[in-house]
């Protein structure tokens, strides 16, 4: 597949962000270099939830409008979202080991992300388990909507269970408690990851279009 302008911009943004994060952003005083993983972890988590939200939205719209494009968007977003969720689940424990002293803890947000990952996996398995195209689209849309309804319940129940995760640093009512250099890098990382998500989503969508038109040689519109 040829690189598109979007994918080139996204790749450049990621490179610029991490050159800045590693060489031109001060090292955190207490956590040391381990804190740098934050520039991957937090934006990946943002994209994971964004991707999940888009699956839910595309699913609702699909059941309403029955447009195949919406099904492909949900499919693409779920697969890209699964990758980013996996990145969150790998980078989190890597940071947790030196800072918390443990790879894993049943904290509210860790548990929620783990379940997000389980729902994404179940969604992909469900897609693979159905041959009929319309049925696959309808079933996956139902799962996408129920999954979106489930997230607040998992969040609430595991939050009431216990929490240890650092409190939000960026999105809080008063000013962010990060030094300006770090804040710029974090915002850059969020932008770069969002671009990367858009580029991967587009590539995955194109793939779905080509696959579907290859499976139906009689129809020429994709």
């Amino acid at each position: 597949m040829k690189p598109t302008p979007l994918s080139i911009v996204a790749a450049l943004a990621v490179v610029v962000t991490y050159v800045r994060a590693i060489f031109f952003t001060p090292t955190e005083a207490i956590q040391g270099p381990a804190q740098k993983i934050f520039y991957v972890h937090a934006p990946a988590a943002w994209v994971a939830f964004l991707a999940f939200g888009l699956v839910g939205l595309a699913s609702v719209l699909y059941l309403w409008l029955r447009d195949d494009r919406l099904d492909r968007i949900a499919e693409a977003s779920a697969e890209v979202g699964l990758i980013f969720t996996t990145v969150v689940l790998i980078t989190g424990p890597l940071w947790g080991r030196p800072i918390w002293g443990t790879y894993w803890t049943w904290d509210a947000r860790l548990t929620l992300t783990l379940f997000l990952w389980f729902i994404f996996v179940a969604y992909m398995v469900l897609r693979g388990a159905i041959e009929d195209r319309d049925m696959r689209a309808r079933y996956c849309a139902v799962l996408g909507i129920l999954g979106a309804l489930l997230v607040p319940f998992i969040h609430l129940s595991v939050y009431l269970f216990r929490t240890l995760h650092p409190k939000p640093i960026l999105l809080k009512p008063d000013t962010p408690s990060l030094p300006p250099e770090m804040l710029t890098t974090v915002l850059l990382a969020f932008g770069a990851f969002t671009l990367l998500y858009a580029a991967l989503l587009r590539a995955r969508y194109r793939f779905a279009v080509e696959r579907d038109s290859a499976h139906r040689p009689d129809s020429h519109h994709a």
Binding site: F118, L126, M135, V142, F153, I154, L156, S157, L160
Partner: protein, 237 residues
């Protein structure tokens, strides 16, 4: 099986009446064969026994272990029963008869879910006293609130499980897919139910468990409605 539906003429086409009819059909099949119920009860008892041997009674008290045992067993025995719910409809195309009958899709869902609810509650009615007996935990005054928690949790389990059973039965990986789809959805049921059970077993008043019960009730309301509305989309159109 479809005979009682075929010979039945709908005098008042109420969703509840139709749902009761579907539930009655499922329960009649289950009552006449008793295959699933007996095997699920034996499965639950075996689970209780196996947990006993994995348990170090000097380190963990029975009251601390019991909520976990109960809710693990309800989750997995529920899955076994739910898998059967739409599995039987696909033998000899029984589902076609059901869908051709003058009953709304929502009523079919409510009926199937109602029969599953009776099934799960019946398993709970045997498993809770069995845990009390085998783990030497007198239930005494907490039997009624415990039954209430079990019932609230059963509603949520059954709503989600019935929908996924309908979906999984149409796929290639049905027996694998049902637990994969259902278990993440069972988490916000099992956490509050097990926590509320633990509160009661440790002798705390029912008031202490109210926050958890509210969460269970909210889950039940949202997912019974969502699953009922989603069910028609899982059928052939």
């Amino acid at each position: 099986m479809p005979t009682n539906i075929a010979t039945w003429s709908p005098p008042v086409n109420s969703v509840v009446g139709d749902a009761l009819l579907v539930a009655k059909k499922d329960l009649t099949i289950e009552f006449r064969t008793r295959s699933a119920f007996l095997s699920v009860v034996v499965f639950a008892l075996l689970g209780i026994v196996i947990f006993f041997f994995a348990w170090d009674s000097t380190a963990v008290s029975a009251a601390d272990l019991a909520p976990g045992v109960l809710w693990v067993i309800f989750t997995f025995s529920g899955l076994l029963g739910l898998h059967r719910s739409f599995g039987v409809e696909h033998q000899e195309g029984a589902i076609d008869g059901l869908l051709a009958s003058p009953i709304s899709r929502e009523a079919i869902f409510l009926g199937k879910a109602g029969a599953n609810l009776v099934f799960v509650v019946a398993v709970q009615a045997i498993a809770i006293p069995a845990v009390s007996l085998f783990y030497n935990l007198p239930l005494g005054g907490i039997a009624l609130p415990l039954a209430g928690i079990a019932f609230l949790a059963a509603i949520g389990l059954v709503a989600v499980g019935t929908l996924f059973s309908a979906m999984a039965a149409n796929t290639r990986l049905s027996e694998l897919l049902l637990p994969m789809l259902s278990l993440p959805f069972f988490v916000p049921i099992v956490i509050p139910a097990a926590q509320a059970t633990a509160k009661l077993l440790s002798g705390r008043p029912v008031v202490d468990a109210v926050a958890w019960l509210k969460l269970l009730l909210a889950f039940d309301i949202v997912f019974v409605a969502a699953c009922m509305l989603a069910y028609p989309f899982t059928l052939e159109e």
